[in-house]
C-alpha cells in the first residue's frame, strides 16, 4: 500500500478515526508521518491533519500544553504516569491537583514535620522577592546606581539559594 501523502513510499503508519459515525482512514509512510508530526498518536488529531491536506496549512498538531520549565515534564506525561518530574513540577501542576489529592488523602494541607531550613529559606525567598520589586522600581525611576547595587545583592542571594537547593 502506498502512502496517501507522497504516493511513493510504502505506508507503514495506519490511522483510523471515527468522526460523527464516519470512518476516516489514512495511510502514511514513515517519512511523511514524521513530517506531519504523527509521532505520538495520543497527541495528534487526525481530523486536523485531514483538513490540512490540499491547503498547505493547519498541520500544526501540538497545542501548547502545561510544561515544567525546570525538568520538561508535560501535563500529558504526568497524567499518563501519575509521577511528577521534579520538585518544581508541584508549582506548575499543583494548582489542578486538589481533586486528586482529596481522593488520595482526604485532606490537602500538610500538618506534619517542618524542616529546620524551611523557616530560613522562606525568609530568604521573601527578601529576594522584595529586592526584585525594589530593582524594578529603581529602574523605572532611572536610579541606576541604586539598581546596580540591588542587582549585586540579588545575584549573591540567588547564588546562595541555588547552592542550598541543589546540594
Amino acid at each position: 500500500m502506498k502512502c496517501d501523502v507522497c504516493d511513493e513510499n510504502t505506508a507503514t503508519v495506519f490511522l483510523t478515526q471515527i468522526v460523527k459515525g464516519d470512518m476516516q482512514k489514512i495511510n502514511l509512510c514513515e517519512h511523511c508521518a514524521k513530517e506531519k508530526g504523527v509521532t505520538d498518536p495520543t497527541g495528534f488529531a487526525l481530523a486536523d491533519m485531514l483538513l490540512g491536506f490540499g491547503h498547505g496549512e493547519r498541520v500544526e498538531t501540538h497545542p501548547q500544553e502545561k510544561t515544567c520549565r525546570a525538568c520538561g515534564m508535560t501535563q500529558t506525561t504526568f497524567r499518563k504516569t501519575g509521577r511528577l518530574g521534579c520538585a518544581r513540577c508541584y508549582s506548575v501542576f499543583g494548582e489542578g491537583m486538589d481533586g486528586l489529592l482529596k481522593a488520595m488523602h482526604t485532606k490537602v494541607c500538610h500538618t506534619g514535620k517542618v524542616p529546620a531550613h524551611a523557616g530560613q529559606l522562606k525568609a530568604e525567598e521573601d527578601l529576594l522577592a522584595r529586592l526584585r520589586s525594589e530593582l524594578d522600581a529603581a529602574v523605572g525611576e532611572e536610579h541606576f546606581e541604586e539598581a546596580a547595587r540591588l542587582k549585586i545583592e540579588i545575584n549573591s542571594l540567588e547564588k546562595k539559594l541555588r547552592s542550598r537547593v541543589s546540594v
Binding site: 525546570a70 525538568c71 515534564m73 504516569t81 501519575g82 509521577r83 511528577l84 518530574g85 521534579c86 520538585a87 518544581r88 508541584y90 499543583g94 491537583m97 486528586l100 489529592l101 488520595m104 488523602h105 482526604t106 485532606k107 490537602v108 494541607c109 500538610h110 500538618t111 506534619g112 514535620k113 517542618v114 524542616p115 529546620a116 531550613h117 524551611a118 529559606l121 522562606k122 542550598r164 537547593v165 541543589s166 546540594v167
Partner: protein, 373 residues
C-alpha cells in the same frame, strides 16, 4: 565498610530482639520518602543525572552516625540473586532491585536502618524494629532524617509538605507498617472482613512482600495509605490503635479455636511438624504455610517459646534467593525445593514433638502448661 557476606551472616537486630507483642507482630517498619530540591526525580532523570545525584548523596548517607561500618553498594555491582536476598530481607524494595546504574543501597550494621538512593524518590529511608514498636521506629528514623537534612535540604512546601515523585506520598512522605501473623483469623475465615474494615478507614493490608503479593504464611502487612494532612504522630497513633484491635481479634480467635475445635488446631500443627521434619521436596508456599503453624504452636505452648526466633529466621532462609546464595549457585525450582526441605529438616532436628496437651487442656487444669494466648 561491611561486606555483603558479613551482612548475610549477621542476624538482623529485629530478629534477635523481643519487641512488644512479638507473638503476633513480627516487625514494625517506617519509611520516609525525601527528595532534593532541583534535580529531576529518579524516574524522570537521565542516567548521568542519577549517577550525579547518587554520588552527591551516598557519602552523606554513609557518614550518618547510625551508618558506622555500614554496607553500601551501587546496585550495578550486585547480581540478581544478591539483590533478591536484600528484597527477601525487606532491606530494599522490589522496585529498587529491578534497577541498576545510578542507584545504591546503604544498610547499617544491625540492619535496623536501610536507605535506598534513587528508588522512586531520591531517598527512601527505612527503619525496622521487632514487634509492635512504631513510635520508637519512627523516632529513630526522624533523628536520622533531621541529621541528613542539616546537610542536604529536602524539597518541601508549606502546603504539600515533603515533595515526592508520586503524589500518593506527599506531605509526611511516611509509610508506617507492621507485619502481623494472623493464623487464627485465617482459619476462622475472619481475616477478609478485618481487611475490608481496615481499608475503609484508609489503611492498606497487603501480603508478605507488599503491594500485589500473596498473604503467604498468614502474614499481613498493615500500613497507612494517606500521608498528607495528618501529622506523623496522628498517623502512627491511628495505625497503632487499629493494629492493637487486630491483635485482640487474633487472640480471641485463637482462644475460640482452641475451645471449639482443638482437634483442628492439633491436626494443623501436627501435620506441619511432620512435613517440615520429614519431607524431602517442599515448595516455598507449602513451607511458609507449615512454618506459620509452627509459629502458632510456639505461641500456644505446643513448642518451646524460644523457638519463635528460629522460625522467623527460617521464614527468610527458605526463600529462593537465600537458598541459592547459601549453595553459591543458581538453582532450578526443583533443586530449590529439595534444598529447602533439606534445610528445614536439618534446622529443625532438635525441635521436640509437639506437646498437644497445651491445646487440649486450654482451660488450664492444675499442672498443665501455661497457655500463652
Amino acid at each position: 565498610m561491611m561486606k555483603f557476606t558479613t551482612l548475610l551472616r549477621r542476624r538482623p537486630e529485629w530478629m534477635e530482639h523481643d519487641g512488644p507483642c512479638r507473638d503476633i507482630v513480627l516487625t514494625s517498619r517506617i519509611r520516609l520518602a525525601r527528595n532534593l530540591d532541583g534535580p529531576p526525580f529518579p524516574g524522570w532523570a537521565k542516567k548521568e543525572n542519577r549517577v550525579e545525584i547518587m554520588e552527591q548523596l551516598r557519602p552523606r548517607v554513609e557518614s550518618l552516625s547510625v551508618m558506622k561500618d555500614c554496607f553500601s553498594e551501587d546496585l550495578a555491582n550486585l547480581d540478581a540473586i544478591k539483590k533478591q536476598v536484600l528484597v527477601e530481607k525487606h532491606l530494599i524494595s522490589r522496585e529498587q532491585a529491578a534497577k541498576s546504574g545510578g542507584c545504591a543501597a546503604v544498610i547499617n550494621r544491625d540492619q535496623s536502618y536501610s536507605i535506598m538512593i534513587n528508588e522512586e524518590d531520591h531517598l527512601r529511608m527505612q527503619s525496622i524494629r521487632s514487634g509492635l514498636d512504631l513510635t520508637a521506629a519512627h523516632a529513630g528514623l526522624d533523628r536520622l532524617d533531621t541529621e541528613l537534612e542539616d546537610q542536604v535540604p529536602f524539597a518541601w512546601d508549606r502546603r504539600f509538605g515533603y515533595l515526592t515523585a508520586c503524589p500518593t506520598n506527599l506531605g509526611t512522605g511516611m509509610r508506617a507498617s507492621a507485619m502481623l501473623h494472623l493464623p487464627a483469623l485465617v482459619l476462622c475465615d475472619q481475616v477478609t472482613s478485618i481487611i475490608n474494615a481496615a481499608n475503609k478507614i484508609g489503611l492498606a493490608v497487603r501480603g508478605l512482600y507488599g503491594e500485589g503479593t500473596e498473604a503467604l504464611s498468614n502474614l499481613f502487612q498493615v500500613s497507612n495509605q494517606r500521608t498528607l494532612g495528618d501529622s506523623e504522630a496522628e498517623i502512627l497513633a491511628r495505625l497503632e490503635k487499629v493494629i492493637r484491635q487486630i491483635i485482640t481479634h487474633e487472640r480471641n480467635a485463637r482462644r475460640k479455636l482452641l475451645e471449639d475445635n482443638p482437634q483442628k488446631v492439633c491436626d494443623n500443627i501436627g501435620r506441619a511438624y511432620a512435613a517440615l521434619r520429614f519431607a524431602h521436596i517442599m515448595e516455598s508456599k507449602e513451607a511458609l504455610t507449615h512454618l506459620s503453624m509452627l509459629r502458632l504452636g510456639t505461641d500456644v505452648g505446643v513448642f518451646p517459646a524460644a523457638e519463635t526466633k528460629l522460625i522467623d529466621t527460617l521464614l527468610l532462609e527458605i526463600q529462593p534467593a537465600h537458598l541459592q546464595i547459601a549453595s553459591q549457585r543458581k538453582l532450578t525450582a526443583e533443586e530449590r525445593d529439595i534444598l529447602r526441605a533439606e534445610t528445614l529438616r536439618r534446622r529443625l532436628t532438635h525441635l521436640p514433638e509437639p506437646d498437644m496437651r497445651a491445646c487440649q487442656e486450654s482451660d488450664g487444669p492444675a499442672g498443665g502448661p501455661d497457655v500463652v494466648i
